[in-house]
Each structure stands twice: as C-alpha cells, then as structure tokens.
C-alpha cells in the first residue's frame, strides 16, 4: 500500500501510533509529486529537502517523547497566497516572482505549531482571480481526473494536489468560490468557513471583506480536523471573531435525523447541467434516507449576487493590489522614465490580463461620480442578500445546492470570454456575500468520470452542522480516485 493514498487523519493516527514515521509519509508524498507532477503541475514551489528535514525533526520529537502538535508529521501544502517566512510566496504572479516574506501568515504559524510538514506552495489563478487556474503566470494546473480539463480555481493547485494524492491536505482561499468550485471539479472536500472564523493575517488580500482561508482535503473528517487547527480568533486580524469554536472533528456523528434542508430553486435553473442536477437530487434522497428532511425554497435575490460580487471584490482588489508598484519588493520594470512611468511599466508588465481587468473594473466602480451607482449599490445588494439568507435560516438548518454549474471544462475553453468564466462561480459567490460557511464534497461522477460537487451552506459559525451533514452524506457516496 502506498502511504500517499491515505487520508490525513489516517496518516496522523499512524504517526501517532508510531506505525510509520513522518519521514516515511513525507517521502511518500514527495515520491508521488515526482511521479505525477509532470502531468498535474499543481506546485509552484516544492520544498523537498526542507520537508524531509522538518519531518526528521518531528520524528525526533516523537522519539524523545516530547509533546507534539495535533497533526504531528502530516505533510501538507499551502496555496501560494499564504505567506511563508523565507519561502517564495508568489500569488502565481510575475509581480511577486522573487517575494520571500519575512513573516508567516497566522495559518502558517498555526499549522507549524501543529507540527505539520510543509511540502511546498501550490498553484492558483494570479492573485486568486479566476475559476480555472489558467491565470497563473507560472503554469497551468491540470485536473487529475482528465488532464485536458481545468482543476477549477482559483485554488486549483490546492484541489488538484489533494485529488492527485500529492499532499495529504492543503489550504485554499475562497473569495467567491475559490475553494469550493475547484473542490467540486477535482472531487475533493473544500470548506469555506464563516467570514471571521480563520485569521486572514498573512493571506495576500484579493478582496478583504470576502476572502476566507479554508481546508481542502480528501474527506470530511480531514476537513474537520484541519479546521480545528486553523479556526480561532487572532489579535492580528481585526475581522476575526472572538468566539469559542467546538471541536469539529469530535462533533462528527453522522447523525442527521431531523436536519432541515432547504433547496433553493434558483440554483437549479438555466446553465446548470442535467447531470449535476441529477447527482445533487440523488444526494438529497440519500440524505433523506439518513433521516433529514428537505423541501424546495427560494432565495429570490440570488441572481444579484454575481454582479454585486464582481463590483465589491474588484473594488477592494483595485485598492489591495495598488501596493504592487515596483518600489519596495517584487517585480520592477527594467526601463522607465520617471515615477509615473515606473508605476505604469511595472504594473503593465507584472500583472496578467485578468488582474488588470479587475483592477480597472474596481477603480471605475470606486471613482467619484460612479461610486453610488456601483460600489454603494452593490453593498446595498449585499445587505439584502444577507437578510435573504437570514430569513431562510429561520426555517432551515442548512441549504443544499450544486457547487458548480458543470463538471470540469476544457483547458482554454473559456479563456476568451471572461463573462462565461465568471459564470463558473454562480453557485458559490452568494455564500461569500453572506459571509456564511459552506462545504463542497463530491456526490457523484458524470458520464466521463469527472467529479460532481454538492454544496452545503450553513448558518454563520455553524460549521459543525455543515460538516456533520457532509459527513453523513459522504458515507452514502462511493468515491473514485483519479487514474494518473
């Protein structure tokens, strides 16, 4: 048996029980990376020697009987927008081709504190803008189930590396679906926690009011286990919320008797493929068989979520990305005439087309004379959508929807039409607008064997219910590994 095929919690337990060493687990993951990375291309940076050295250190700690962290020895990877001290953190952009932060993100610190092993940094759409990971400056990550297809995005590297068994788990970030949509397309588990659950400190911002870090894992138990390590208040992030989180892993009972599920009809309309609809409906029947109740309901404002999302996220991005100006770090144009030219050349050369498009949309939306019509209006829509969700959760414990309108699409298929690409987020953006927790797990496969994802949305800070519903559903699904 190859260790790399195991889940993170299995690896954790085996290391704890001293059945295997962290070095063995790490070597297995590195071997797997060496074996399939040519095809999948999910890593921007692989930390081979460093990972082995870290694993040996943890093994030594275990051997000496020293107290170790909760995930001691488990190898994992981080999306390349999470700061790792002295390790390249590029956001898959030319702009940060040489950027080694002198500090760690809070999640990096927490996972280091849990004694995990960092295998490397995984690919993404540049600055997390995109739905296919085709916007990376460095490489196009492939879907492990069909390497002619995209892995989704923007956390495509996080999803593909987990699906391809290159990492036991990864972290992704989700601004409009960037964890959940690639999880759906790659058949892994991805959770976007409630806004404020996980510290954003050290996450290179795309849209500050929407960004949230979450686990991408092989199963729901892994997801709960990782969330237990990264959730929690952080004094360095003013928007992190100071509440007591339950132990998510311990809360997984698989008992969903009496769970009230709302099924918003707006998510099953035009553009959602029949196979996706059928798989989600089948999953709902399975959940009913486990004792849950579901009924159709409506989120009437859902259609406004996507435009509001693109206004708000682009506006914040235009400001967040202004700091990449060639002055202090990162890419600087070689030739320029004066200060303004330095900015223009650096930013023209350093950013890719999609990033520039969003900066322009956002700058426009914030401009004097347009602010009220665009940015302010979008914020008003946001409040109304939040109220819509609030009302729904007076009746339902969770809402269930498809995670992506289709299964993985072909590489290059949507790159010429940004609006069509934006529609890939149609099932996921409203959750960010509402600040809610939502998980995506695989619920079946299409006729070509590509994974189909289902999304379970919960009340704010009720990740426990969301995870448990997913856990119960997962037991009814037969998973298929990709054939690489």
């Amino acid at each position: 048996m190859d260790l790399y095929t195991l889940t993170a919690h299995e690896i954790r337990d085996m290391i704890k029980e001293k059945k295997i060493s962290s070095k063995e687990a790490t070597q297995s993951a590195l071997d797997r990376i060496a074996q399939v990375e040519d095809k999948v291309e999910s890593f921007v940076t692989v930390l081979g020697d460093e990972a082995i050295a870290q694993a040996e250190k943890i093994d030594a700690k275990i051997a000496s009987g020293e107290e170790v962290g909760a995930l001691a020895g488990v190898p994992m990877a981080l999306k390349d927008n999470m700061c790792t001290k002295d390790v390249l953190t590029t956001c898959s952009s030319k702009m940060l081709y040489n950027f080694k932060p002198p500090y760690n993100a809070t999640v990096t610190e927490k996972l280091a504190g849990a004694d995990t092993v960092l295998l490397g940094k995984v690919n993404m759409d540049e600055f997390a803008m995109g739905s296919s990971t085709e916007n990376s400056y460095y490489k196009k990550t492939k879907n492990p189930y069909d390497i002619t297809k995209v892995p989704g995005g923007s956390s495509g590297g996080s999803a593909a590396s987990v699906a391809a068994d290159e990492a036991f788990f990864t972290l992704g970030s989700d601004t409009g679906g960037s964890i959940r949509q690639p999880a759906a397309l790659c058949g892994c588990v991805g959770l976007k926690p409630t806004y404020g659950s996980v510290s954003r400190y050290g996450l290179i911002a795309f849209a500050s009011s929407l960004d949230q870090i979450g686990p991408m894992t092989k199963d729901v138990k892994d997801c709960a286990m990782v969330l237990d390590q990264i959730a929690g208040y952080d004094a360095k992030d003013s928007t992190s919320v100071n509440i007591q989180h339950p132990n998510f892993e311990a809360a997984l009972t698989g008992d969903i008797r009496g769970l009230k599920i709302g099924v918003p009809q707006e998510y099953f309309g035009q553009g959602i493929s029949e196979e996706v609809t059928a798989a989600v409906n089948a999953a709902l029947s399975n959940m009913k068989a486990e004792g849950a109740e579901f009924s159709d309901m409506s989120l009437p404002l859902n259609e406004y979520a996507l435009p509001a999302y693109y206004m708000i996220s682009s506006a914040e991005a235009s400001s967040n990305l202004a700091r990449f100006d060639g002055v202090k770090y990162g890419y600087r144009a070689e030739k320029f005439n004066d200060l303004i030219d330095l900015y223009c050349q650096t930013r023209s050369e350093g950013f890719g087309a999609e990033v520039k498009r969003r900066i322009m949309i956002g700058t426009y939306a914030l401009s004097s004379g347009y602010y009220d019509a665009y940015y302010k209006k979008a914020q008003q829509v946001r409040t109304m959508i939040m109220n819509d969700f609030g009302k729904a959760f007076e009746t339902y414990d969770v809402l269930v929807t498809p995670a992506s309108p289709t299964t993985a699409f072909g590489i290059g298929e949507k790159t010429s039409d940004p609006l069509e690409m934006y529609m890939a987020d149609i099932c996921t953006v409203s959750v960010n607008i509402g600040g809610l927790p939502a998980i995506v797990i695989p619920c079946g496969y299409d006729k070509n064997g590509l994974p189909i994802g289902i999304q379970i949305i919960g009340k704010p800070f009720d990740e426990a219910t969301v995870l448990n519903a997913a856990y119960a559903l997962e037991k009814t699904i037969t998973k298929v590994k990709p054939n690489l």
């Binding site: 927008n81 932060p101 954003r200 400190y201 849209a207 360095k236 506006a315 914040e316 700091r323």
Partner: protein
C-alpha cells in the same frame, strides 16, 4: 477695492501615543532610516492593521477639548493614491464619519473673543518620507514615520486675517499640548498645517474662490504664506482677473508660492470603507472616562492667573499659551516664589534666552524650584538684580543651585554694615568737595558718592544699605 480675507485651516497633529496607529512599533521621532517600522506599518502583502485604542482616546480627548460632538459609530476609510512614501498605496483615514464633529474654540483677538468653528477631527496614519540624493539621481524612502498616528483638525472658514489665523494656531497648539494629545514639536513636524484662503469684496456674503497652500511648516511660515496669498489674490482681482481654484506649494526660503495642481487635476482618492477594520463604536461611558482626564485648559488657567495672582491679562495669556511654561510658573510659585516675580523672569530674561538659543520652554535646563530659590536670593538681598541675570545665564549653562552659583561666581551682595561703612568712610575722606556740595544742597553729589562706594565694592554692596548709611554719614559730617 477693499477685500475681506477668509481663512480656513487644516492642522495635522502627530499624537503622542506610545505605539503607532496600526502596529506595535514605538511611536518615536527620528532613528536611522527604516529601523522603526515593521511589515504592518510598511504595508507588506498579507499584513493587516489593528487599530490602537489609544489613538481613539487621544482623538476624542482633542474633540472634547475643542467642544466637538463625538461620533458614536465611526469607521475608517481608504484614501487611494500612489506615492513612494505610501507603501500600501492607500492611507487609512476617515471620510464621512470622522470621530469628532461640530466643535469650536474661542480665541482672543485685540481683547475680543472670536469663536472659530471646528468642522471635524479625524484620525489617520502618517506616510513615510522621501530623501532625495543631492548628488546623484536617486530618491530613497524612509518608512519610519509610516503609521505614526495623526489627527487632522479642520476649521470652518471663520478667520478673517493672517493674524487671527496665527492666534487660532497658537490657541489650538496650546490645547493639544495641555491635553497631551500631541507634543506639538514644530521642528519635528508634529504639527503641520494646510491653509485655505480666499478674498471677497467687503460686504459680500458669498465666498470667493479659494486656494490651498501646502508645505507650510511653521506658524511663522503660515502667516507669511497667508500674507503672500492675500496680496496675490488682491492683485489678480484688482486687475479684473479671476482667481483659479488650485493647490499651491509654499516656498518659505523664497517667500513665494507656486502652483502645484489645478482643480481639474484634483486627484480622485476613491475613498471607500476600509474592509480590514471594524467600525469604531464609542459608548457614552468611554467618552465620559476620557472627559474626566482632561486637565485645566489654557483658558481656565489664564483666568486663574488673573484672579488668583493678579497677573495682567497679557502676562497670563503669554504664560499659559505654552503648557510647559505655565507648568514651570506653577512649579516656582508652589515653591514659594512671588507670582509676579516668577512671571517677570519667565516673560523677560528666560523667554529672551530661549528665543536666542531657539529652545522651547520644555528645554529649560533648571527646575522651577531653582528659579524660586534665585528669586528668594534677590528678595533677601543676597544678590542684586543685575547679579541675578548673571546667575540665570549660569543656570542655563550648567544647571546648579543658585546659591552654589552665587558662591562660585562671587556675586554675593555685601550687606555687612561695618564693611560698607568702612568703604563709605574711605570714599568720604577722599572727596571733601562732594561733602561740601551735598551740604550746599546739590543732589548730584549724593549720586556721585553712591557710585564711588559701589565702585570700591566692585558692585557687590547692597545699594539700599549704601544709600541709607551714606545719608546718615553725610548728615553727621
């Protein structure tokens, strides 16, 4: 034509909090470039600001001391612009919900009280500094000042002359000093101001077109810039021209201002709510807690000096316009010195020395108690007034107890009756003619003889005693 000048001021004051506004770096002036900053205040990717609560405390304190109403639900906004001293390419400031609004301060102009409205006070972060290489073609960035907390105090256009504006600035400065919101050190840039000035024909209600002046680094420069601008606009209007709304840069060396940007070039800062920070919610209890920490303000102190010590209004105003000066005064009085004498020394010789040496009252090297002792030495007759001035100079040079300095400099007055009498007798025996003149009723002779005794004593003899003893001796002669 006769014009009325209309002036409004925007004052930026650096707060004297211990740490910066959004990180835990020490809030201190100076230091080697880029040694007083961290990833947060230099806006490195992924870092996040966390508001220093003390900044809100200080801003509210400034607001209460200037009679503002305090915003119960405030927020912070991003002001977006590119410049190399602003590493995030936005400044976190406040746009539509400043912490303090609708206040005023009263100022004294020619014995009359004028009320100047305060539109708003908001909090924001300072930017870094660019250092331009004089020899090469390079500019260097020093980020030490990034994240130093500032308040911007915006006045209503309520001032009608550069002099009024100067008094407003002095008054505002003393309020900020008294409340210890800012150390107001002009030479360190703790206090900076932008001037808005327009003219309108006397009697006209509508305001004229205004110009804003930047780079005004001292109150003196502010007055000069305003006088210059007043004249410049009047000349344009007199010639039948139109004043263009623009921002101008003051050059204090050349004494002129030059256009910086016109209204058309006005930057669009694309303000929007800062999503990395949560709203600032201020409870009534919090406001009251801060209110209870506000000390006696200059206005109240001035009234006390007039009422309790009988100081003239002018003296009281000058003494209280600097908190350090007023604290020094109170200290010396508490140590038993006569208030009027302390006031005279502070306003006279001490202020003169401070001016000559370009020092602030905070830089006085000796203690109020030492000044009190020096005054006591004069009153006891141990030293003369002119000797006291020498003692004061010495106290500035090397702070020591006045008694020790009197001893060291040999300035003690001779008040020993016997010693003075011996000198008088010597002088009289050498000046028989003067005695005769005195007897003949020539008053000048007395003056001459006093001078002679003083000369013999090398200036140390107590003048009152010379007068008394000489008169007795002459009457007996």
């Amino acid at each position: 034509m006769k014009y009325e000048t209309v002036i409004g001021l925007e004052v930026h004051a650096e707060l004297s909090t211990k740490t910066k506004i959004f990180c835990s770096c020490k809030n201190e002036f100076g230091g080697e470039p880029n040694t007083r900053c961290c990833p947060v205040c230099t806006g490195m990717p992924g870092t996040l600001p966390v508001l220093n609560k003390a900044v809100v405390d200080y801003a509210i304190k400034a607001g209460l001391a200037t009679n503002c109403s305090i915003t119960k639900y405030g927020k912070q906004d991003r002001k977006n612009y590119f410049y190399p001293d602003l590493p995030k390419a936005y400044q976190i400031s406040q746009f539509d919900l400043p912490l303090c609004q609708n206040g005023y301060i009263d100022i004294e102009v020619d014995g009359e009280t004028r009320r100047i409205g305060i539109t708003r006070i908001h909090i924001e972060e300072d930017a870094g500094k660019l250092i331009h290489d004089d020899y090469g073609n390079e500019s260097m960035a020093d980020y030490n000042r990034c994240g130093v907390p500032l308040i911007e105090i915006v006045s209503e256009p309520d001032m009608r002359s550069p002099e009024e504006a100067r008094i407003y600035l002095e008054t505002l400065k003393s309020i900020l000093e008294y409340t210890e919101v800012s150390d107001c050190k002009m030479q360190e840039g703790s206090l900076r101001c932008d001037v808005n000035l327009s003219l309108r024909p006397v009697g006209q209600k509508e305001f004229g077109t205004r110009c804003e002046m930047k780079n005004v680094n001292s109150f003196r420069a502010a007055v000069r810039a305003m006088e210059y601008e007043q004249k410049r606009q009047a000349e344009i209007l007199d010639a039948g021209g139109v004043v263009e709304q623009e921002t101008r840069r003051w050059d204090d060396v050349k004494g002129i201002s030059t256009p910086m940007r016109s209204k058309e070039d006005a930057q669009d800062y694309r303000y929007f709510p800062e999503p990395d920070l949560v709203p600032i919610v201020v409870s009534d209890e919090w406001v009251e807690e801060i209110r209870s920490t506000i000390p006696e303000l200059p206005e109240q102190r001035k009234a006390r000096y007039i009422g309790e010590y009988g100081l003239p209004e002018y003296d009281a105003f000058i003494l209280t316009s600097s908190k350090k000066m007023a604290d020094f005064f109170d200290g010396a009085v508490a140590d038993g010195a006569t208030p009027k004498a302390v006031s005279n020394w502070l306003m006279g010789d001490i202020s003169k020395i401070l001016n000559d040496k370009e020092l602030e009252p905070a830089d006085i090297p000796f203690t109020p108690a030492q000044l009190a002792k020096m005054i006591a030495l004069i009153e006891k007759g141990t030293i003369s007034n002119s000797a006291a001035k020498k003692v004061l100079d010495a106290m500035f040079a090397e702070p020591a107890d006045p008694e020790a300095l009197v001893e060291k400099l040999g300035l003690a007055q001779v008040s020993d009756e016997g010693a003075i009498l011996t000198m008088i007798n010597d002088v009289l025996s050498q000046n028989p003619q003067s005695i005769a003149d005195y007897k003949a009723g020539k008053d000048k002779a007395m003056g001459f003889l006093v001078g002679q005794v003083m000369r013999v004593s090398k200036g140390k003899a107590n003048p009152q005693m010379i007068n008394k003893l000489l008169k007795e001796a002459l009457d007996k002669a």
